[in-house]
Symmetry: none
Subunit: 534 residues, 2 copies
Amino acid sequence: MGERIYLYDTTLRDGAQTQGVDFSVADKTAIARDLDLLGIDYVEGGWPGANPTDDAFFADPPQLRNATFTAFGMTRRPGRSAANDPGLAGLVGAKCDAVCMVGKTWDFHVDVALNIPRSENLELISDSIGLIRERKGEALFDAEHFFDGYKANPDYAVDCLMAAFQAGARWIVLCDTNGGSLPDEVERIVRAVAERIPGTNLGIHTHNDTENAVANSLAAVRAGARMIQGTLNGLGERCGNANLVSLIPTLMLKMGYETGITADGLRRLTQVSRGLDERLNRAPDRHKPYVGESAFAHKGGLHVSAVEKDPTSYEHVDPASVGNRRTIVVSDQAGRSNLLARFREIGIEIDARDERIADLVDLVKRREYDGYAYDGAEASFELLARRALGEVPDFFRLQSFRVIDERRWNARDELITLSEATIKLDVGSQSLMTVAEGNGPVNALDIALRKALVPAYPELEGLRLVDYKVRILTPNDGTKAVTRVMIESIDGRGDRWTTVGVSANVIDASYNALHDSITYRLYRASIAAARDGR
Amino acid sequence: MGERIYLYDTTLRDGAQTQGVDFSVADKTAIARDLDLLGIDYVEGGWPGANPTDDAFFADPPQLRNATFTAFGMTRRPGRSAANDPGLAGLVGAKCDAVCMVGKTWDFHVDVALNIPRSENLELISDSIGLIRERKGEALFDAEHFFDGYKANPDYAVDCLMAAFQAGARWIVLCDTNGGSLPDEVERIVRAVAERIPGTNLGIHTHNDTENAVANSLAAVRAGARMIQGTLNGLGERCGNANLVSLIPTLMLKMGYETGITADGLRRLTQVSRGLDERLNRAPDRHKPYVGESAFAHKGGLHVSAVEKDPTSYEHVDPASVGNRRTIVVSDQAGRSNLLARFREIGIEIDARDERIADLVDLVKRREYDGYAYDGAEASFELLARRALGEVPDFFRLQSFRVIDERRWNARDELITLSEATIKLDVGSQSLMTVAEGNGPVNALDIALRKALVPAYPELEGLRLVDYKVRILTPNDGTKAVTRVMIESIDGRGDRWTTVGVSANVIDASYNALHDSITYRLYRASIAAARDGR
């Protein structure tokens, strides 16, 4: 068993500073429980007294199993005692197990921002830590702007830490508040501090302004720090805080450290990370280290057959250890072995020597050259493959459609736009014609199409489009430009799939993607029906 | 002047492996030119022979001013001479200034993937580098899986490098192909290699699988590497490659290295980074180090006045040095000064106490809340502001339009789609009605509109759309989704401008963007005419 690293999560405080993030009390409660279940040591809930959300959260804090529920606050103001400071009183009264106090350590900020004698700042730190230590049991000290402070005046910066240490702070956390320090500086400075204050528990708090927040945390650990403050998914103001989701597996799987997280807990990491994105209504970043959807994606022909032979020589860790999985991607670079691997994934069984595979590789390459992208449109890829293998019937045949968009002034002198689609198609021997209005040409076409098809195929009832993306592929050649449309659909059971259409005409491209979307749903239903013996 | 670091961009090759990224030949050409203008030393265009896009790109490569245009390829196959290897023949025939050859250096991969004697792999490397060196002038060697190889068998891994070095490779680039190495390992191993092969030019190529790609590159530089291979915005398969956009300012502003980029070039960095996202139809990540919209964001309150007093103590670098800017979020006062700053940028002169400014702040906020984005659409922003100030006349007034898209089978039994637009509008007291066909509804509308306007406004003659982008803004709510359209236009003199339109109906949104585009051109012409006293 390796040495123990303590994890301190500040998603609910520093992470809440992220532009565009706005946690409710319910969000905070749910996230705190997730962090606790994961095995995080300290969960910082917020700053009681700073805003109504944090007041409400601390008034009725979540019951945590293992984590130390922590409040954040500032050292007392100049000119009054710690016991009479309203901010500190709020912290003393907060329902929490520990308080992390931030204080100044950069002489320049003491001079200019606080505008008090430097010795008085030492008293602010010492008094505040002392009070919290006495009244709440555990105090931590966040040394604000420490690295800038140390670079400017190492003796004074260390004096500030010493004040907190001597007043009984359990952890002294060195903060790179502006995020501008580089790993070699962090390592050197943490090492120097560890030598100057022997016996102290050092922590590190970094920001990602140079894309080094993770590396700076690791550099501090190498130099002796034993606590890391960070956030889930690297939330935080500006460029974010150190991303605990990336740090945790590196510490545990690569560096051999022990944390409060078990191997089982580690397998929940992907879920915890994506769950936070869901809560924030953001698409998870597929490129996130360890937990992203693409983190263990393989692309490129030769490479893929080798991965299947021996994954450990192409994957830096086992994807399952963090709850993620391997994916094989189809692309321009697709070779035979890529396609075969991809087929196995979607359940197409085909002999590796089947001569249709070479044709299919050619077809995929040709289509991608024309502007199709199957990377993000797995349903269209599956249809392409199954059609080539003769497995997909024509569920319907389009005769024609017409879409009319009309913009005019209405009776209230407002400009309004109406879209109407008429469609003629055959289902088996039956000819159908429908018309529908929509809030745009594609929406109208989609409604008319389903109006025609639902009587024959009731499984299309709950289908709807949830995303629609358009891209012009040769923007430097306006007239010859090709348009690519990606459509994401969802059905009544919550299944989602994405299809792609390409054409010089955006309506045409949209129809192609729509056609694939509906065909995919019908094909899936027919397979399910066949399997159930219906 | 500090020591020189060489920058090697592989956005167009390794970056093209990103899931969801699919460059066209036109994209590659434009990006290569951007990289060249920025001052990147090597631009890797792709892998000639690997796919039709790269073949087409290398058949007609962009003319670069300074950068070495480089092809990527693999060492020869076992069992044939370098001169008779079809892959190498393709590289020799490719129109490029240098070739980067990737070869194996991990004994395990030589044994298992290549399945040849280890000594034969040394010949593969040596022969291939030798041939390229002789026929193309410059060869670089990408040592695949080098760090894993070195950890497994340092002597063999170094032998592979030595083979490339002795065959005349100008650069030996150590690749952390699986992305699993940590900064301290990278530093230690690069240092060891530098000692074992004195006199070689070492490069580093890292991946972001542990969120350490940038730190690993910096660690290698500290150990003596003088070339960094990376991509714009950290594009790349899985979790991406080392992000040159983060590395460049750190190297130049913090570590004192010289690169091929001037201080002026560095000020283009934000624009280059966001331009790539625009091209990929992605929202730029606002939290990106150095170039993100939030990278220098400050919240209101005390902090802000402190920032204004002395920005250097709250900002790790000057935002202007990388072409970014400070933003103050939340406070109304901030909105006001932001707006005033933007006005100055586009040449609107307005008194800071003008009461119309408050209304305009409200208007911009309301519009942005509705989904308008003025960051990428400066022409629409300028029109919004100038309209609010009463400076923009109504050059024409729309009465109505109708767009018909019709898809049907033609006489040759092909499905074809025709788009036709009819438009009624007034120019002054004159009512006009025109009709036109286009290769899509927006194209038809654009042609009909200009057909009606050109007689009155001949300056619209050469105007055309060069880019058209559509994004759905609330993809999780299909029915209430709002569509945002961005249109980039160009006129006969080569001037470009971008406008934005938002509506529930995509045709409506497109018309709004089109209307702004034409109005902007007419407004500019009227200003020029007034200035010339016409």
